[in-house]
Symmetry: C2
Subunit: 363 residues, 2 copies
Amino acid sequence: MFSVLQTCANDNMASDSVNRPTSSVNRPTSIKDIARKANVSFSTVSRALQNSPLISRRTAEKIQRIARDSGYRASAVARGLVTQKTKTIGVVVTSIADPFVSEVVDGIEECCNDHGYSVFLANSNADPDRERKVVQSFAERRVDGIVVTSSRVGALYIPLLSEMRVPIVLVNNQHPGEFVHSVMIENVQGSREATNHLIQLGHRRIAYVGDRFGHQSDTERFSGYREALDGAALPFFSELVVHGDGKSEKAIAITEALLRLEEPPTAIFCYNDMTALGVLRSLHAQGRRIPTDISVVGFDDLFIASYTDPPLTTVHQPRKRMGLLAMGSLLQLMSGQNLSQAITVPTELVVRKSSGPPQKNRK
Amino acid sequence: MFSVLQTCANDNMASDSVNRPTSSVNRPTSIKDIARKANVSFSTVSRALQNSPLISRRTAEKIQRIARDSGYRASAVARGLVTQKTKTIGVVVTSIADPFVSEVVDGIEECCNDHGYSVFLANSNADPDRERKVVQSFAERRVDGIVVTSSRVGALYIPLLSEMRVPIVLVNNQHPGEFVHSVMIENVQGSREATNHLIQLGHRRIAYVGDRFGHQSDTERFSGYREALDGAALPFFSELVVHGDGKSEKAIAITEALLRLEEPPTAIFCYNDMTALGVLRSLHAQGRRIPTDISVVGFDDLFIASYTDPPLTTVHQPRKRMGLLAMGSLLQLMSGQNLSQAITVPTELVVRKSSGPPQKNRK
DNA sequence: CGAGCTTATGCAAACGTGTGAGAAAATCCC
DNA sequence: GGGATTTTCTCACACGTTTGCATAAGCTCG
């Protein structure tokens, strides 16, 4: 029965009762503005907008209509202050431009969006100073949780993060601590499958071109390679294992050396796709046909893998899914549940054109 | 029973003696806690931590020491509420997994970090519903500014965004409005340079493989191509202009058709690197040598461009720099300054191995 | 030595929202 | 019809910070 038009008529500066300084900046409409228009107290408005059962249907609907008409947006800032929950998480990345990272973040963001959370993105180029700033920033913003997506977290970093009493989930980290939870890729299994694939094709001399020695993921992928050989009762040739640096340039020289062996490998399993890229280029330069003369398998399934010549057989990592899982874990942790330390995500072998049976005429 | 909790919260100091259960939420230390320890009022603490000249050096230092020792982190939430500035910006992307986008975001984030801003990242997969949710979220979070990095923004989107009274900067958008500011790549200039490069190498029949007809960036890149031809007083052959879809599969068929022409081109300029990838593959399949038989030039300078066979000559877009510039503009706008509508960023031709002089023995 | 000034500090009102307690109004029961 | 109960709404405080204004101390100066 209230005439909206009437109340609308004098809504402009009806704050005569309160001598508020008419600031030049026109603030967004608040529940008080709506309360004035609806002729109720602002706490009634608050409850009505939350669909509290304490408010009658009639007034609730009236208030909601007024709110919609006046373009009201509740302030998450004010709400966060009183509820002590910001519905916000922090995501730390080494570099968002890294395709691995950005796909993980894609998953995180999607999950956040579905659950009413917003994500703060912060870049710490593995730089301790930046890391410190990021942590400080997240602490001040009172994020409800944190996801760290970086290939390597500094030693001082985790204690720094855990200083704030907020759940943390790591993605593919190298230093799993006791107090944090993590989502990890199953390096060993993926590597074993890739090697088995080559074994089943008939290969007996399979090279492994690794990352720098000592890196955790390299160590794990090498174990998978060893396990596969052992599982098939194949001999292990130490001269077929070489450590690169995960980049393609280094892999070129390594490939040349492998081909110069008295008995060169018939297949090369690479630590990652970038390494495989170098191997492919080197093989092309030497005039070898792939996979007729020699097979190549990578790891990562980068976007580029389906565009190499020939398209690269490689181990796919479900990066976006890892992001979703990490955020799922974080949601559980933030709701107070406890969960097992680590989630591991299986890989999936993607067979393309760079792997095939070895030539028959080998000795 | 709740009043008990309240009194507990009130005299925090004495709560050491009170047997408070560990399960209770222990809030982060606030300025009131520090004020109590320092035996001053909390407003003195606030000023001391801001290095206000109103506070004597002695007490300021004492307060700062206590704050440091007790691991105090000012609440950006509370500060945002009173100052009406959250020191927060929102970044809307179509997909963070897109390498173009992620590098732009990298630049934005770096600039933000340097200026004490935090970035909210939100993904709107060009989905109107998601877009609406993103805008709503940013509005509720009271972001101070917005950057939109998406190849195409929906028609309804910009008015939606501008509804909130906050500066907006678009990056490489297709629909520049009147009220927004933008950072754009100089498509025409980049395309002209690329074409000129081929002309200077001696090419006279240069094909252009475009994106779908009507897309703004395709139109601009095509104009650059035409301008270069006209500038060199070269004839334009309409049969050498074909529209693809920006993907490599389509480009394969297009290339085959171009080679079947009575007088095939000696060089192919591609709308983007993905197209060039398809062209390269098709040329390989047809046994053409690159660049001896035919030259190929791309646009974008994706990461992949330096790994093709041969490495691709292409037009580089300074993506990170565009992010920095966009954020720089936004900072200016947020500080109340006005600035000219659009910033354009020059491209840079990267000459690799896929372009060379045409064969002498052409008619 | 008090008026006036500077310096250092405290008081209290915001900012926009949530929420327990209590008041007012409506409804029900006997 | 009056008390009990339920429904509906208002009051008042809290969240943690900034900041204008008041105030108390210490100083200078006439």
